[in-house]
């Protein structure tokens, strides 16, 4: 069964997808494999979850897609746009701030 992740994971799939697509264009299945690999399987999404995120990002202009036929199968490849790169930078900075804040709070709680 696909492992579910806690509710505070909201927004993480978007960040990971943008980060991975910043390196090269990929299709859905390839992206899920890359997320598992990049996070050492710490983050294992229900695999269908990425498509609503991908389509939303495409709709708001952060991604663009194109179809390619590979080994007799039509793949939809996603690539980052300029707007997507800007969005990635913003999310990355937000994430660092939150991560730092949580780490500080947890450290303080441990030392108290």
């Amino acid at each position: 069964m696909a492992q579910s992740n806690p509710p505070f994971m909201s927004g993480v799939p978007e960040l990971l997808l943008l980060r991975l697509l910043n390196e090269k264009e990929m299709y859905g299945y390839e992206l899920v494999r890359s997320i598992k690999q990049a996070t050492h399987e710490a983050i294992s999404l229900g695999e269908g979850v990425i498509y609503p995120v991908l389509h939303s990002l495409e709709r708001n202009g952060s991604l663009k897609s194109k179809r390619k036929t590979v080994s007799g199968r039509t793949r939809v490849y996603y690539a980052l746009t300029k707007k997507g790169r800007d969005r990635l930078e913003k999310l990355r900075s937000d994430w660092s701030r939150i991560q730092g804040g949580v780490a500080t709070a947890l450290g303080a709680a441990t030392n108290a």
Binding site: M1, E47, G48, V49, Y51, P52, S56, R59, R73
Partner: protein, 141 residues
């Protein structure tokens, strides 16, 4: 978990407000993803049935998928995004288009209409020739 019913999924997506074109594309992507998962499981030694079950599990519940698609407003058609506007605009649009309907239908069915017109013309010509022949036979005795 059961194998996903992709046709039913497309219907459910459309019912939840996703445009038919987008729903078809989504289902095609998901079906390809499922096929990739099945292939990977078979490559890892699973039999066909076990591979399909594994793929369905990995893909996650379809209810959850439909829920996530439906929760994203930007993926919905404008009528689902602005239902109040749609309630007003659709009837007005229908009334506005009503007078033009014969023309639009005529354009859409132009080939049938042209065939019908041509056969009517041919029938008229034959009738005219017959009437003319009768008239001539009366005149000439």
């Amino acid at each position: 978990m059961r194998e996903p019913d992709f046709n039913a999924l497309a219907t459910r997506l459309i019912e939840s407000g996703i445009s038919p074109r987008h729903a078809r594309r989504t289902v095609n992507e998901l079906r390809d993803h499922y096929d990739d998962l099945v292939d990977a499981a078979v490559d890892n030694g699973a039999n066909s049935k076990a591979a399909r079950l594994h793929a369905a599990n990995e893909l996650g519940p379809m209810d959850e998928f439909v829920g996530q698609m439906a929760s994203r407003r930007e993926l919905k058609t404008w009528a689902f995004r602005y239902p109040q506007v749609a309630i007003v605009v659709y009837p007005i649009a229908c009334l506005a288009v009503l007078p033009a309907m014969p023309v639009l239908v005529g354009f859409a069915k132009r080939s049938a209409l042209m065939r019908w017109g041509a056969s009517l013309l041919a029938a008229g010509l034959v009738t005219a020739v017959l009437l003319l022949t009768m008239q001539l036979s009366i005149i000439l005795g």
